[in-house]
Protein backbone atom coordinates (compact mmCIF):
# COMPACT_ATOMS: atom_id res chain seq x y z
CA UNK A 1 0.00 0.00 0.00
CA UNK A 2 0.91 3.66 0.15
CA UNK A 3 2.83 3.34 3.37
CA UNK A 4 5.01 0.52 2.08
CA UNK A 5 5.66 2.32 -1.20
CA UNK A 6 6.77 5.43 0.67
CA UNK A 7 8.95 3.31 2.92
CA UNK A 8 10.57 1.65 -0.09
CA UNK A 9 11.18 5.05 -1.68
CA UNK A 10 13.07 6.19 1.41
CA UNK A 11 14.98 2.92 1.67
CA UNK A 12 15.96 3.08 -2.01
CA UNK A 13 17.65 6.41 -1.46
CA UNK A 14 20.45 4.67 0.44
CA UNK A 15 22.54 3.02 -2.29
CA UNK A 16 24.65 0.96 0.11
CA UNK A 17 21.48 -0.44 1.65
CA UNK A 18 20.31 -1.50 -1.82
CA UNK A 19 23.58 -3.35 -2.38
CA UNK A 20 23.18 -5.02 1.02
CA UNK A 21 19.67 -6.08 0.12
CA UNK A 22 20.88 -7.45 -3.24
CA UNK A 23 23.56 -9.53 -1.53
CA UNK A 24 21.12 -10.98 0.96
CA UNK A 25 18.69 -11.78 -1.86
CA UNK A 26 21.52 -13.64 -3.64
CA UNK A 27 22.28 -15.57 -0.45
CA UNK A 28 18.61 -16.51 -0.12
CA UNK A 29 18.50 -17.64 -3.77
CA UNK A 30 21.62 -19.72 -3.15
CA UNK A 31 19.91 -21.37 -0.20
CA UNK A 32 16.80 -22.24 -2.19
CA UNK A 33 18.68 -23.41 -5.29
CA UNK A 34 21.06 -25.68 -3.34
CA UNK A 35 18.95 -28.88 -3.63
CA UNK A 36 18.72 -28.45 -7.43
CA UNK A 37 22.34 -27.51 -8.06
CA UNK A 38 23.76 -30.05 -5.63
CA UNK A 39 21.36 -32.97 -5.41
CA UNK A 40 23.73 -34.92 -3.17
CA UNK A 41 24.14 -34.45 0.60
CA UNK A 42 26.73 -31.70 1.19
CA UNK A 43 28.23 -33.80 3.98
CA UNK A 44 28.93 -36.71 1.61
CA UNK A 45 32.39 -37.44 0.30
CA UNK A 46 32.30 -36.89 -3.45
CA UNK A 47 35.90 -36.59 -4.64
CA UNK A 48 39.56 -36.51 -3.70
CA UNK A 49 40.45 -34.49 -0.60
CA UNK A 50 42.00 -31.03 -0.52
CA UNK A 51 41.33 -30.24 -4.13
CA UNK A 52 42.07 -26.53 -4.66
CA UNK A 53 39.47 -24.33 -6.34
CA UNK A 54 39.51 -24.34 -10.16
CA UNK A 55 41.53 -27.56 -10.28
CA UNK A 56 38.57 -29.69 -11.23
CA UNK A 57 35.57 -28.38 -13.12
CA UNK A 58 33.26 -30.60 -11.05
CA UNK A 59 34.36 -28.81 -7.87
CA UNK A 60 34.74 -25.11 -8.71
CA UNK A 61 35.46 -24.22 -5.09
CA UNK A 62 37.52 -27.36 -4.39
CA UNK A 63 37.01 -30.04 -1.78
CA UNK A 64 37.77 -30.14 1.92
CA UNK A 65 39.98 -32.40 4.00
CA UNK A 66 37.62 -35.34 3.56
CA UNK A 67 36.82 -34.75 -0.11
CA UNK A 68 33.48 -33.01 0.34
CA UNK A 69 32.38 -30.37 -2.16
CA UNK A 70 33.03 -26.88 -0.71
CA UNK A 71 30.61 -25.21 -3.18
CA UNK A 72 27.81 -27.50 -2.01
CA UNK A 73 28.71 -26.65 1.58
CA UNK A 74 28.52 -22.93 0.82
CA UNK A 75 25.13 -23.22 -0.96
CA UNK A 76 23.54 -25.44 1.69
CA UNK A 77 25.19 -23.46 4.45
CA UNK A 78 23.65 -20.21 3.19
CA UNK A 79 20.16 -21.23 4.28
CA UNK A 80 21.25 -22.71 7.58
CA UNK A 81 23.37 -19.71 8.45
CA UNK A 82 20.68 -17.17 7.62
CA UNK A 83 18.05 -19.19 9.42
CA UNK A 84 20.17 -19.43 12.55
CA UNK A 85 20.70 -15.67 12.41
CA UNK A 86 17.02 -14.89 11.90
CA UNK A 87 15.67 -17.25 14.55
CA UNK A 88 18.29 -16.20 17.11
CA UNK A 89 17.43 -12.56 16.42
CA UNK A 90 13.74 -13.36 16.82
CA UNK A 91 14.43 -15.05 20.18
CA UNK A 92 16.45 -12.01 21.29
CA UNK A 93 13.69 -9.65 20.12
CA UNK A 94 10.94 -11.53 21.95
CA UNK A 95 12.88 -11.61 25.22
CA UNK A 96 14.12 -8.03 24.84
CA UNK A 97 10.75 -6.54 23.90
CA UNK A 98 8.96 -8.32 26.76
CA UNK A 99 11.44 -7.22 29.40
CA UNK A 100 11.91 -3.72 27.99
CA UNK A 101 8.17 -3.15 27.62
CA UNK A 102 7.37 -4.20 31.19
CA UNK A 103 10.23 -2.16 32.64
CA UNK A 104 9.44 0.93 30.60
CA UNK A 105 5.68 0.80 30.98
CA UNK A 106 5.40 0.10 34.69
CA UNK A 107 8.59 1.84 35.82
CA UNK A 108 9.33 1.94 39.54
CA UNK A 109 9.91 -1.41 41.16
CA UNK A 110 9.46 -3.36 37.92
CA UNK A 111 11.97 -1.16 36.15
CA UNK A 112 14.56 -1.52 38.90
CA UNK A 113 14.24 -5.30 39.09
CA UNK A 114 14.22 -5.90 35.34
CA UNK A 115 17.04 -3.50 34.57
CA UNK A 116 19.30 -5.00 37.27
CA UNK A 117 18.50 -8.37 35.72
CA UNK A 118 19.45 -6.99 32.30
CA UNK A 119 22.68 -5.58 33.65
CA UNK A 120 23.69 -8.98 35.00
CA UNK A 121 23.45 -10.30 31.44
CA UNK A 122 25.31 -7.31 30.06
CA UNK A 123 28.26 -7.77 32.39
CA UNK A 124 28.95 -11.37 31.35
CA UNK A 125 31.26 -11.54 28.30
CA UNK A 126 29.04 -12.64 25.43
CA UNK A 127 31.11 -15.33 23.80
CA UNK A 128 32.17 -16.94 27.08
CA UNK A 129 28.57 -16.95 28.24
CA UNK A 130 27.49 -18.51 24.95
CA UNK A 131 30.18 -21.19 25.21
CA UNK A 132 29.05 -21.99 28.73
CA UNK A 133 25.39 -22.17 27.72
CA UNK A 134 26.03 -24.46 24.76
CA UNK A 135 28.43 -26.61 26.76
CA UNK A 136 25.83 -27.07 29.49
CA UNK A 137 22.74 -27.45 27.30
CA UNK A 138 24.43 -29.54 24.64
CA UNK A 139 25.53 -28.58 21.12
CA UNK A 140 22.26 -28.92 19.22
CA UNK A 141 20.99 -26.38 16.71
CA UNK A 142 18.10 -25.41 19.03
CA UNK A 143 20.42 -24.75 21.92
CA UNK A 144 22.83 -22.76 19.78
CA UNK A 145 20.00 -20.53 18.53
CA UNK A 146 18.56 -20.17 22.04
CA UNK A 147 22.02 -19.40 23.45
CA UNK A 148 22.67 -16.68 20.86
CA UNK A 149 19.22 -15.24 21.61
CA UNK A 150 19.96 -15.22 25.34
CA UNK A 151 23.20 -13.27 24.93
CA UNK A 152 21.75 -10.78 22.41
CA UNK A 153 18.52 -9.47 23.94
CA UNK A 154 19.89 -6.88 26.35
CA UNK A 155 20.35 -4.09 23.82
CA UNK A 156 16.78 -4.58 22.58
CA UNK A 157 15.45 -4.51 26.14
CA UNK A 158 17.22 -1.20 26.84
CA UNK A 159 16.01 0.32 23.60
CA UNK A 160 12.39 -0.79 24.10
CA UNK A 161 12.45 0.43 27.70
CA UNK A 162 13.58 3.89 26.62
CA UNK A 163 10.94 4.05 23.88
CA UNK A 164 8.20 2.95 26.28
CA UNK A 165 9.24 5.47 28.90
CA UNK A 166 8.81 8.32 26.46
CA UNK A 167 5.64 6.90 24.87
CA UNK A 168 3.74 5.88 28.00
CA UNK A 169 3.04 9.48 29.00
CA UNK A 170 1.80 10.49 25.58
CA UNK A 171 -1.75 11.66 25.41
CA UNK A 172 -2.98 8.90 23.11
CA UNK A 173 -2.03 6.38 25.78
CA UNK A 174 -4.07 8.26 28.36
CA UNK A 175 -6.89 8.48 25.83
CA UNK A 176 -6.69 4.71 25.34
CA UNK A 177 -6.84 4.17 29.06
CA UNK A 178 -9.82 6.51 29.29
CA UNK A 179 -11.50 4.29 26.72
CA UNK A 180 -11.14 1.33 29.03
CA UNK A 181 -8.08 -0.42 27.60
CA UNK A 182 -6.20 -2.79 29.88
CA UNK A 183 -2.46 -2.41 30.44
CA UNK A 184 -1.70 -5.36 28.22
CA UNK A 185 -3.85 -3.98 25.44
CA UNK A 186 -2.24 -0.56 25.73
CA UNK A 187 1.22 -2.08 25.60
CA UNK A 188 0.51 -4.36 22.67
CA UNK A 189 -1.82 -2.28 20.53
CA UNK A 190 -0.97 1.34 21.32
CA UNK A 191 2.62 1.70 22.48
CA UNK A 192 4.45 -1.19 20.84
CA UNK A 193 3.55 -0.25 17.25
CA UNK A 194 5.09 3.16 17.90
CA UNK A 195 8.22 1.65 19.39
CA UNK A 196 8.82 -1.00 16.77
CA UNK A 197 10.80 0.80 14.00
CA UNK A 198 14.08 1.16 15.93
CA UNK A 199 13.61 -2.39 17.20
CA UNK A 200 13.49 -3.67 13.61
CA UNK A 201 16.74 -1.86 12.86
CA UNK A 202 18.45 -3.31 15.90
CA UNK A 203 17.05 -6.78 15.21
CA UNK A 204 18.54 -6.72 11.70
CA UNK A 205 21.93 -5.95 13.20
CA UNK A 206 21.47 -8.76 15.69
CA UNK A 207 20.94 -11.15 12.77
CA UNK A 208 24.42 -10.18 11.59
CA UNK A 209 25.81 -10.60 15.08
CA UNK A 210 24.17 -14.00 15.43
CA UNK A 211 25.77 -15.22 12.20
CA UNK A 212 29.13 -14.23 13.64
CA UNK A 213 28.44 -15.90 16.98
CA UNK A 214 27.41 -19.12 15.28
CA UNK A 215 30.57 -19.01 13.19
CA UNK A 216 32.69 -18.44 16.25
CA UNK A 217 31.06 -21.41 17.98
CA UNK A 218 31.55 -23.60 14.93
CA UNK A 219 35.14 -22.50 14.57
CA UNK A 220 35.74 -23.71 18.09
CA UNK A 221 33.94 -26.92 17.21
CA UNK A 222 31.14 -26.32 19.68
CA UNK A 223 28.22 -25.88 17.33
CA UNK A 224 25.90 -28.62 16.14
CA UNK A 225 28.12 -31.01 14.09
CA UNK A 226 25.14 -32.22 12.06
CA UNK A 227 24.28 -28.95 10.37
CA UNK A 228 26.04 -27.55 7.32
CA UNK A 229 26.50 -23.93 8.38
CA UNK A 230 29.32 -21.75 7.09
CA UNK A 231 30.83 -21.66 10.51
CA UNK A 232 31.15 -25.46 10.51
CA UNK A 233 33.07 -25.27 7.20
CA UNK A 234 35.54 -22.88 8.79
CA UNK A 235 35.78 -25.02 11.87
CA UNK A 236 36.65 -28.08 9.86
CA UNK A 237 39.15 -26.19 7.75
CA UNK A 238 40.91 -24.81 10.78
CA UNK A 239 43.26 -27.77 11.12
CA UNK A 240 44.51 -27.27 7.58
CA UNK A 241 44.76 -23.51 7.73
CA UNK A 242 48.50 -23.51 6.96
CA UNK A 243 48.27 -25.67 3.87
CA UNK A 244 44.76 -25.57 2.40
CA UNK A 245 43.71 -22.14 3.68
CA UNK A 246 40.97 -21.81 1.03
CA UNK A 247 38.81 -24.21 3.04
CA UNK A 248 38.55 -21.57 5.77
CA UNK A 249 38.78 -18.56 3.50
CA UNK A 250 35.84 -19.32 1.19
CA UNK A 251 33.16 -19.64 3.89
CA UNK A 252 34.95 -16.84 5.72
CA UNK A 253 34.43 -14.49 2.80
CA UNK A 254 30.81 -15.64 2.52
CA UNK A 255 30.24 -14.76 6.19
CA UNK A 256 32.05 -11.45 5.85
CA UNK A 257 30.01 -10.38 2.83
CA UNK A 258 26.70 -11.51 4.34
CA UNK A 259 27.32 -9.83 7.69
CA UNK A 260 28.34 -6.65 5.90
CA UNK A 261 25.18 -6.83 3.77
CA UNK A 262 23.01 -7.28 6.87
CA UNK A 263 24.62 -4.26 8.49
CA UNK A 264 24.00 -2.19 5.36
CA UNK A 265 20.36 -3.25 5.44
CA UNK A 266 20.18 -2.19 9.09
CA UNK A 267 21.51 1.26 8.18
CA UNK A 268 19.07 1.53 5.31
CA UNK A 269 16.13 0.60 7.54
CA UNK A 270 17.27 3.15 10.07
CA UNK A 271 17.32 5.88 7.43
CA UNK A 272 13.96 4.81 6.08
CA UNK A 273 12.36 4.79 9.54
CA UNK A 274 14.00 7.93 10.84
CA UNK A 275 11.67 10.83 10.12
CA UNK A 276 14.44 13.41 10.53
CA UNK A 277 16.20 12.06 7.48
CA UNK A 278 13.07 11.62 5.43
CA UNK A 279 13.32 14.81 3.47
CA UNK A 280 17.04 14.89 3.06
Amino acid sequence: MGVLAAFWRRYRRNRAALIGLAIVVVVVIMAFSAPWLFPHDPLRIVGPSELWPMQDARFPLGTDSLGRDVAAGIFYGAGTTLLIGLVASLVATIIGVTIGALAGYYGGWWDDALMRFTEIFQTIPNLIFLLALVAVLGPTIENVVLGIGIISWTSIARLVRAEFMSLRDREFVLAGRAMGMSDLRLIATQILPNAIPPVIVLASLIVAGAVLFESALSFLGLSDPNIASWGRLIGEGRLLIRTSWYICAIPGVAILVTVLALNLIGDGLNDAFNPKLRNR
Partner: protein
Protein backbone atom coordinates in the same frame (compact mmCIF):
# COMPACT_ATOMS: atom_id res chain seq x y z
CA UNK B 1 -33.93 14.84 38.55
CA UNK B 2 -31.56 12.41 40.23
CA UNK B 3 -27.98 13.00 39.13
CA UNK B 4 -26.28 10.46 36.86
CA UNK B 5 -22.99 10.97 38.54
CA UNK B 6 -22.69 12.22 42.07
CA UNK B 7 -19.37 13.20 43.52
CA UNK B 8 -18.98 13.82 47.23
CA UNK B 9 -15.91 14.96 49.09
CA UNK B 10 -13.51 14.05 46.31
CA UNK B 11 -9.95 14.65 47.49
CA UNK B 12 -6.85 14.01 45.42
CA UNK B 13 -3.38 14.71 46.72
CA UNK B 14 -0.01 14.95 45.06
CA UNK B 15 2.68 13.13 46.98
CA UNK B 16 5.84 14.97 46.03
CA UNK B 17 9.28 15.57 47.47
CA UNK B 18 8.06 18.89 48.83
CA UNK B 19 5.33 17.15 50.77
CA UNK B 20 1.69 16.33 50.26
CA UNK B 21 -0.05 18.87 48.04
CA UNK B 22 -3.84 19.08 47.79
CA UNK B 23 -4.75 19.09 44.09
CA UNK B 24 -8.47 18.56 44.65
CA UNK B 25 -10.04 19.18 48.06
CA UNK B 26 -13.39 18.01 49.29
CA UNK B 27 -15.20 18.55 46.00
CA UNK B 28 -18.91 17.87 45.46
CA UNK B 29 -20.35 17.74 41.94
CA UNK B 30 -23.58 16.47 40.45
CA UNK B 31 -23.85 15.59 36.78
CA UNK B 32 -27.39 15.48 35.45
CA UNK B 33 -28.64 13.81 32.30
CA UNK B 34 -28.99 16.16 29.32
CA UNK B 35 -27.25 18.92 31.26
CA UNK B 36 -23.82 20.43 30.99
CA UNK B 37 -21.82 21.19 34.09
CA UNK B 38 -18.94 23.56 33.47
CA UNK B 39 -15.85 23.37 35.63
CA UNK B 40 -14.10 26.72 35.45
CA UNK B 41 -10.85 28.08 36.79
CA UNK B 42 -7.31 29.08 35.99
CA UNK B 43 -4.62 26.61 35.01
CA UNK B 44 -3.58 24.50 37.95
CA UNK B 45 -6.80 24.92 39.93
CA UNK B 46 -7.54 21.18 39.85
CA UNK B 47 -10.04 20.98 36.98
CA UNK B 48 -8.22 18.33 34.99
CA UNK B 49 -7.21 16.47 38.12
CA UNK B 50 -10.90 16.29 39.02
CA UNK B 51 -11.72 14.82 35.61
CA UNK B 52 -8.94 12.26 35.86
CA UNK B 53 -10.00 11.39 39.41
CA UNK B 54 -13.52 10.56 38.27
CA UNK B 55 -12.15 7.95 35.86
CA UNK B 56 -9.39 6.99 38.29
CA UNK B 57 -6.73 7.93 35.78
CA UNK B 58 -4.67 10.26 37.96
CA UNK B 59 -0.96 9.74 37.32
CA UNK B 60 0.19 7.67 40.27
CA UNK B 61 2.83 8.60 41.36
CA UNK B 62 2.65 11.42 42.32
CA UNK B 63 -1.14 11.79 42.51
CA UNK B 64 -3.47 9.64 44.54
CA UNK B 65 -7.16 9.88 45.31
CA UNK B 66 -7.31 9.92 49.09
CA UNK B 67 -10.98 10.40 49.84
CA UNK B 68 -14.54 10.86 48.71
CA UNK B 69 -17.08 8.99 46.67
CA UNK B 70 -17.96 9.00 42.98
CA UNK B 71 -21.39 7.43 42.79
CA UNK B 72 -22.53 6.18 39.40
CA UNK B 73 -25.54 3.90 38.98
CA UNK B 74 -25.44 2.91 42.62
CA UNK B 75 -21.76 2.05 42.64
CA UNK B 76 -18.85 3.98 44.10
CA UNK B 77 -16.34 4.16 41.24
CA UNK B 78 -13.51 4.85 43.67
CA UNK B 79 -13.83 1.45 45.32
CA UNK B 80 -14.58 -0.56 42.19
CA UNK B 81 -12.04 -3.25 41.29
CA UNK B 82 -9.79 -2.08 38.42
CA UNK B 83 -11.31 -4.68 36.12
CA UNK B 84 -14.84 -3.37 36.56
CA UNK B 85 -13.56 0.18 36.34
CA UNK B 86 -12.23 -0.59 32.88
CA UNK B 87 -15.74 -1.61 31.93
CA UNK B 88 -16.95 1.85 32.99
CA UNK B 89 -14.28 3.85 31.16
CA UNK B 90 -15.24 4.60 27.61
CA UNK B 91 -18.41 2.56 27.99
CA UNK B 92 -20.41 4.51 30.60
CA UNK B 93 -18.15 7.50 31.09
CA UNK B 94 -16.02 8.73 28.21
CA UNK B 95 -13.50 11.50 28.03
CA UNK B 96 -12.11 13.78 25.37
CA UNK B 97 -8.87 15.64 25.76
CA UNK B 98 -7.48 19.04 25.02
CA UNK B 99 -4.87 18.21 22.42
CA UNK B 100 -6.37 16.61 19.34
CA UNK B 101 -2.86 16.62 17.84
CA UNK B 102 -1.48 14.15 20.33
CA UNK B 103 -4.53 12.22 21.51
CA UNK B 104 -4.65 10.09 18.39
CA UNK B 105 -2.17 7.31 17.83
CA UNK B 106 0.05 8.43 14.93
CA UNK B 107 0.66 4.95 13.52
CA UNK B 108 -2.96 3.92 12.96
CA UNK B 109 -5.62 5.15 10.59
CA UNK B 110 -8.60 6.99 11.97
CA UNK B 111 -10.80 4.00 11.11
CA UNK B 112 -8.54 1.55 12.94
CA UNK B 113 -8.67 3.68 16.05
CA UNK B 114 -12.43 3.96 16.10
CA UNK B 115 -12.71 0.22 15.45
CA UNK B 116 -10.34 -0.34 18.38
CA UNK B 117 -12.54 1.85 20.60
CA UNK B 118 -15.59 -0.15 19.54
CA UNK B 119 -14.07 -3.55 20.15
CA UNK B 120 -13.01 -2.75 23.72
CA UNK B 121 -16.56 -2.91 25.02
CA UNK B 122 -18.56 -4.39 22.17
CA UNK B 123 -18.36 -7.74 20.50
CA UNK B 124 -18.31 -6.75 16.88
CA UNK B 125 -16.98 -8.33 13.74
CA UNK B 126 -14.34 -6.21 11.97
CA UNK B 127 -16.81 -5.59 9.13
CA UNK B 128 -19.55 -4.30 11.46
CA UNK B 129 -17.07 -2.23 13.43
CA UNK B 130 -15.77 -0.55 10.29
CA UNK B 131 -19.31 0.26 9.14
CA UNK B 132 -20.03 1.68 12.57
CA UNK B 133 -16.82 3.72 12.39
CA UNK B 134 -18.00 5.29 9.15
CA UNK B 135 -21.38 6.03 10.77
CA UNK B 136 -19.65 7.67 13.71
CA UNK B 137 -17.52 9.83 11.44
CA UNK B 138 -20.69 10.85 9.66
CA UNK B 139 -22.26 11.62 13.03
CA UNK B 140 -19.47 14.03 13.91
CA UNK B 141 -19.94 15.64 10.51
CA UNK B 142 -16.71 14.65 8.86
CA UNK B 143 -17.16 14.97 5.09
CA UNK B 144 -16.60 11.89 2.96
CA UNK B 145 -16.28 9.49 5.91
CA UNK B 146 -15.75 6.44 3.67
CA UNK B 147 -12.48 7.90 2.48
CA UNK B 148 -11.47 9.49 5.78
CA UNK B 149 -11.44 6.17 7.68
CA UNK B 150 -8.27 5.28 5.80
CA UNK B 151 -6.48 8.51 6.66
CA UNK B 152 -3.74 8.77 9.23
CA UNK B 153 -4.19 11.45 11.91
CA UNK B 154 -1.44 13.67 10.51
CA UNK B 155 -3.49 14.14 7.35
CA UNK B 156 -6.33 15.77 9.31
CA UNK B 157 -6.68 19.30 10.64
CA UNK B 158 -6.99 19.99 14.36
CA UNK B 159 -10.74 20.41 14.17
CA UNK B 160 -11.13 17.16 12.22
CA UNK B 161 -8.99 15.32 14.72
CA UNK B 162 -11.06 16.62 17.60
CA UNK B 163 -14.14 15.35 15.76
CA UNK B 164 -12.49 11.97 15.44
CA UNK B 165 -11.76 12.02 19.18
CA UNK B 166 -15.41 12.82 19.82
CA UNK B 167 -16.45 9.97 17.52
CA UNK B 168 -14.23 7.60 19.48
CA UNK B 169 -15.58 8.85 22.80
CA UNK B 170 -19.15 8.33 21.59
CA UNK B 171 -18.44 4.91 20.08
CA UNK B 172 -20.05 3.09 22.99
CA UNK B 173 -22.73 5.71 23.65
CA UNK B 174 -21.59 6.75 27.12
CA UNK B 175 -23.98 8.28 29.63
CA UNK B 176 -21.47 10.80 30.87
CA UNK B 177 -18.96 12.67 28.74
CA UNK B 178 -16.05 14.50 30.30
CA UNK B 179 -14.66 17.10 27.92
CA UNK B 180 -11.35 18.49 29.16
CA UNK B 181 -10.76 21.79 27.35
CA UNK B 182 -12.14 20.28 24.14
CA UNK B 183 -11.82 23.47 22.11
CA UNK B 184 -8.83 25.20 23.66
CA UNK B 185 -6.40 24.04 20.99
CA UNK B 186 -8.71 25.00 18.12
CA UNK B 187 -9.16 28.34 16.43
CA UNK B 188 -12.29 30.31 17.14
CA UNK B 189 -14.51 29.39 14.20
CA UNK B 190 -13.69 25.71 14.60
CA UNK B 191 -14.31 26.07 18.34
CA UNK B 192 -17.86 27.18 17.71
CA UNK B 193 -18.47 24.30 15.31
CA UNK B 194 -17.13 21.72 17.73
CA UNK B 195 -19.19 23.16 20.59
CA UNK B 196 -22.32 23.06 18.44
CA UNK B 197 -21.55 19.49 17.56
CA UNK B 198 -21.05 18.53 21.20
CA UNK B 199 -24.34 20.14 22.18
CA UNK B 200 -26.11 18.43 19.33
CA UNK B 201 -24.72 15.02 20.26
CA UNK B 202 -25.54 15.59 23.91
CA UNK B 203 -29.21 16.06 23.03
CA UNK B 204 -29.14 13.05 20.78
CA UNK B 205 -27.57 10.66 23.27
CA UNK B 206 -28.98 12.28 26.44
CA UNK B 207 -25.58 12.55 27.99
CA UNK B 208 -24.56 14.38 31.12
CA UNK B 209 -21.54 16.48 30.19
CA UNK B 210 -18.75 17.81 32.36
CA UNK B 211 -17.11 20.60 30.42
CA UNK B 212 -13.75 21.70 31.71
CA UNK B 213 -12.62 25.07 30.46
CA UNK B 214 -11.05 28.35 31.41
CA UNK B 215 -12.98 30.12 28.67
CA UNK B 216 -16.04 31.86 30.08
CA UNK B 217 -17.29 32.53 26.55
CA UNK B 218 -17.58 28.78 26.06
CA UNK B 219 -19.31 28.46 29.43
CA UNK B 220 -21.89 31.09 28.56
CA UNK B 221 -22.59 29.31 25.30
CA UNK B 222 -23.07 25.72 26.37
CA UNK B 223 -23.20 25.26 30.15
CA UNK B 224 -26.33 24.87 32.26
CA UNK B 225 -24.54 25.05 35.55
CA UNK B 226 -21.13 26.34 36.56
CA UNK B 227 -18.70 25.32 39.26
CA UNK B 228 -15.84 27.75 39.80
CA UNK B 229 -12.72 26.16 41.22
CA UNK B 230 -9.81 27.88 42.85
CA UNK B 231 -6.73 26.09 44.19
CA UNK B 232 -8.40 22.69 44.28
CA UNK B 233 -11.64 23.81 45.92
CA UNK B 234 -15.06 24.78 44.73
CA UNK B 235 -15.53 28.47 45.49
CA UNK B 236 -18.84 29.09 43.77
CA UNK B 237 -21.58 27.05 42.14
CA UNK B 238 -24.68 28.38 40.42
CA UNK B 239 -26.85 28.02 37.33
CA UNK B 240 -25.12 29.73 34.43
CA UNK B 241 -27.47 32.74 34.23
CA UNK B 242 -27.26 33.49 37.93
CA UNK B 243 -23.50 33.22 37.87
CA UNK B 244 -23.06 35.60 34.98
CA UNK B 245 -25.70 38.04 36.27
CA UNK B 246 -24.72 38.08 39.91
CA UNK B 247 -21.34 36.52 40.62
CA UNK B 248 -20.73 36.46 44.36
CA UNK B 249 -17.21 35.22 44.89
CA UNK B 250 -14.56 37.89 44.30
CA UNK B 251 -12.63 35.38 42.20
CA UNK B 252 -15.61 34.77 39.93
CA UNK B 253 -16.13 38.51 39.68
CA UNK B 254 -12.48 38.86 38.71
CA UNK B 255 -12.74 36.10 36.10
CA UNK B 256 -15.77 37.70 34.53
CA UNK B 257 -14.09 41.12 34.62
CA UNK B 258 -11.11 39.75 32.76
CA UNK B 259 -13.25 38.41 29.92
CA UNK B 260 -14.00 40.70 26.99
CA UNK B 261 -17.71 41.34 26.55
CA UNK B 262 -18.85 42.63 23.23
CA UNK B 263 -22.34 43.35 24.57
CA UNK B 264 -21.32 45.66 27.40
CA UNK B 265 -22.12 49.27 26.60
CA UNK B 266 -21.78 49.29 22.86
CA UNK B 267 -19.15 51.61 21.53
CA UNK B 268 -17.51 52.22 24.87
CA UNK B 269 -14.17 50.55 25.24
CA UNK B 270 -13.42 49.22 28.66
CA UNK B 271 -10.06 48.20 29.92
CA UNK B 272 -9.99 44.50 30.80
CA UNK B 273 -9.51 43.96 34.48
CA UNK B 274 -6.90 41.44 35.43
CA UNK B 275 -6.80 39.60 38.72
CA UNK B 276 -3.70 40.75 40.53
CA UNK B 277 -1.12 38.18 41.52
CA UNK B 278 -0.86 34.51 40.72
CA UNK B 279 -2.50 31.31 41.85
CA UNK B 280 -0.50 30.30 44.92
CA UNK B 281 1.54 27.18 44.31
CA UNK B 282 0.00 24.21 46.02
CA UNK B 283 3.01 24.05 48.31
CA UNK B 284 2.48 27.58 49.63
CA UNK B 285 -1.24 27.49 50.17
CA UNK B 286 -2.45 29.96 52.78
CA UNK B 287 -4.20 28.32 55.71
CA UNK B 288 -7.30 30.47 55.32
CA UNK B 289 -9.08 31.43 52.12
CA UNK B 290 -6.74 30.53 49.26
CA UNK B 291 -7.83 33.58 47.29
CA UNK B 292 -7.26 36.08 50.12
CA UNK B 293 -3.75 37.18 49.02
CA UNK B 294 -5.17 38.32 45.65
CA UNK B 295 -8.55 39.46 46.89
CA UNK B 296 -9.36 43.17 46.70
CA UNK B 297 -11.82 42.91 49.59
CA UNK B 298 -9.87 40.59 51.85
CA UNK B 299 -10.47 41.14 55.54
CA UNK B 300 -9.05 39.75 58.77
CA UNK B 301 -11.69 36.99 58.85
CA UNK B 302 -10.18 35.55 55.64
CA UNK B 303 -7.37 34.01 57.70
CA UNK B 304 -9.97 31.30 58.34
CA UNK B 305 -11.21 29.23 55.44
CA UNK B 306 -14.80 30.19 54.55
CA UNK B 307 -17.24 27.29 54.15
CA UNK B 308 -19.36 26.88 51.04
CA UNK B 309 -22.75 28.37 51.91
CA UNK B 310 -25.93 29.12 50.04
CA UNK B 311 -26.34 32.83 49.32
CA UNK B 312 -29.44 32.48 47.22
CA UNK B 313 -31.62 29.65 45.99
CA UNK B 314 -29.35 27.18 44.22
CA UNK B 315 -26.30 29.42 44.52
CA UNK B 316 -23.41 28.48 46.81
CA UNK B 317 -20.37 30.59 47.56
CA UNK B 318 -17.34 30.14 49.79
CA UNK B 319 -16.66 33.72 50.85
CA UNK B 320 -17.25 35.70 54.05
CA UNK B 321 -18.20 38.75 52.04
CA UNK B 322 -20.69 36.96 49.82
CA UNK B 323 -23.69 38.12 51.85
CA UNK B 324 -22.76 41.73 51.80
CA UNK B 325 -24.90 43.39 49.20
CA UNK B 326 -22.52 45.53 47.21
CA UNK B 327 -19.31 43.67 47.46
CA UNK B 328 -19.29 42.79 43.80
CA UNK B 329 -19.24 46.46 42.94
CA UNK B 330 -16.47 46.96 45.47
CA UNK B 331 -14.42 44.29 43.73
CA UNK B 332 -14.85 45.90 40.34
CA UNK B 333 -13.92 49.39 41.44
Amino acid sequence: MAPLLSIRGLTTHLFTDEGVLPAVQDLDLDVIQDRTLALVGESGCGKSMTALSILRLVPDPPARIVGGRVMFEGRDLLTLPEREMRGVRGNDIAMIFQEPMTSLNPVFTVGDQIVEALTIHRNMSPREALDRAVELLELVQIPDPRARVNDYPHRLSGGMRQRVMIAMALACEPKVLIADEPTTALDVTIQAQVLDLLRDLQRRFHMGVILITHDLGVVAEVADRVVVMYAGRKVEEAPVDALFKAPRHPYTVGLLGSTPRPDAAAGRRERLQEIAGMVPSLAEMPTGCAFAPRCPIAMPACAQRPALQPVAADHDVACFAAHEPDHAAAVRS
